[in-house]
Amino acid sequence: MMNDIGSENITLEMRRGIIVLAVLSLLQEEQYGYSVLKLLSENGLEVDQGTLYPLLRRLESQGLLESTWRVEEARPRRYYVISSQGRKALPQLQEEWNNIVSALQRINQRLEGQNESH
């Protein structure tokens, strides 16, 4: 039986896997780093800040995001938004995600069917 630590690690791995899709979806509107973290949390996707902020920079270096520094409320903030390359990649990622969800549902249904027949 899996212990709590094992379960927690797997949950974190799964979240890391889908965070790119969530961030690209969210950044169709311009946001700064902390607001991305808050919006993800408000929508039920708790992400470690040590994962999110470096990821934003990595996605930018991969050309999927763009960023600009702006001074607001007497404080500089880096605003991120999806790039044209990111806009092209997003539907493909969403389709892939839907395929994964469908595949998992089929696997679960198959297992449930087998259990009922026994």
């Binding site: 700064y32 780093g33 902390y34 607001s35 808050k38 800040q49 040590g50 994962t51 902020y53 470096p54 920079r57 520094w69 404080r75 500089p76 903030r77 880096r78």
Partner: protein, 336 residues
């Protein structure tokens, strides 16, 4: 300086200079946003306790800096299995040779228990030094290969067609066993010239008919040895990398060409430079040898060594030309 300033400075100490200022600026902005939000939620102004709490949640400066950096390896997962294999084989051989030579020396010389223990301990310490030195050289070589591989262009996975394997020039394919003789010879050379070089020489009978050992290699030889060691160690690294990759690639051809060129230059310097044979004329003279006999001995050794170096230059030169042809004449004959 505030706690936030100190924290950001510490993060920066663990970041590469190129991105440091930008990442520090971003972390400061994120921290200020977090603190503002925390202050609104708590209904009190930002204080030292709140700052410490937020920084604790962010993590240690080293951890935060590491999250912004790609994984960095001295020897990465790609080369690590080969490194372990090479370390086991090479360290095993060095240890075995050390133990055998110590055992042979113990049986051949008249030792008391105390002197035998002292001799054995001394040899074991020497062996430990040799093992550490060999291990250090191996790490050095693999770190260079790791760096070279990280700089090399990786194959394009999307356009790679498995059917292209059948058309791949057979001369570029490296069978693991084909590198073994090279590896063994290089190891033997490293071992002989670094551990037993002082034992190179011959026994001459003195006037009383007793054999006396006369060392052969002069200090000049030992000025060349570090360069040969470098070439041999790099050559070992190349051989292990070839076994790992399974085929010759442009970078490995160029690496081999550079090693061959360096070897030829070094051998040429040895042929034309000062003699590597120790001048033992005085010692032989005292032992009763005539000037003519001594001149004959040294002339013979000198001619023999020069002939050996010239043969080595020719053999290495042929290998160099073959590699150059393979580099620039892609569709050249398979016999090369």
């Amino acid at each position: 300086m505030s706690l936030i300033d100190t924290y950001i400075e510490r993060v920066g100490e663990n970041l590469p200079a190129r991105d440091r200022a930008d990442i520090q600026k971003e972390i400061r902005s994120i921290l200020e946003d977090t603190l503002e939000n925390r202050s609104q939620s708590a209904g009190r102004p930002v204080d030292d306790e709140m700052i410490a709490e937020v920084l604790r949640e962010f993590g240690t400066p080293r951890k935060v800096a590491a999250s912004y950096l790609p994984p960095r390896y001295l020897i990465g997962p790609r080369l690590y299995p080969t490194f372990i294999l090479a370390a086991r084989v090479i360290l095993g051989i060095v240890a075995l040779v050390g133990i055998i030579t110590t055992s042979v020396a113990l049986t051949q010389q008249p030792f008391t228990i105390e002197s035998g223990i002292e001799f054995t301990l001394k040899r074991l310490l020497e062996l430990l030094g040799s093992l550490l030195s060999v291990f250090g050289n191996l790490v050095f070589v693999f770190a260079i290969v790791e760096w070279a591989l990280s700089q090399a262009k990786t194959e394009n996975e999307d356009t790679w067609d498995p059917r292209s394997l059948s058309g791949e020039a057979s001369r570029d394919i490296v069978k693991p066993w084909s590198q073994v003789p090279d590896i063994v010879l290089t190891l033997v050379a490293l071992l002989i010239f670094n551990v037993f070089a002082q034992k190179f020489g011959a026994y001459f009978n003195d006037a009383a008919g007793q054999p006396v050992f006369v060392a052969a290699l002069s200090p000049v030889f030992f000025t060349y040895l570090p360069w040969f060691n470098l070439i041999w160690v790099l050559s070992l690294g190349l051989n292990f990398a070839l076994i790992r990759t399974g085929k010759w690639q442009p970078w490995s051809r160029w690496f081999q060409i550079a090693l061959d060129t360096a070897s030829i230059i070094l051998l040429f310097v040895m042929v034309t430079g000062r003699s590597i044979v120790l001048d033992a004329s005085d010692k032989l003279n005292q032992m009763g040898y005539t000037g003519q006999q001594i001149a004959g001995i040294f002339t013979g050794i000198g001619i023999g060594l020069k002939a050996l170096f010239i043969v080595l230059i020719v053999v290495t030169g042929i290998e160099l030309i073959q590699n150059l042809i393979r580099m620039f004449w892609k569709k050249g004959p398979e016999i090369l």
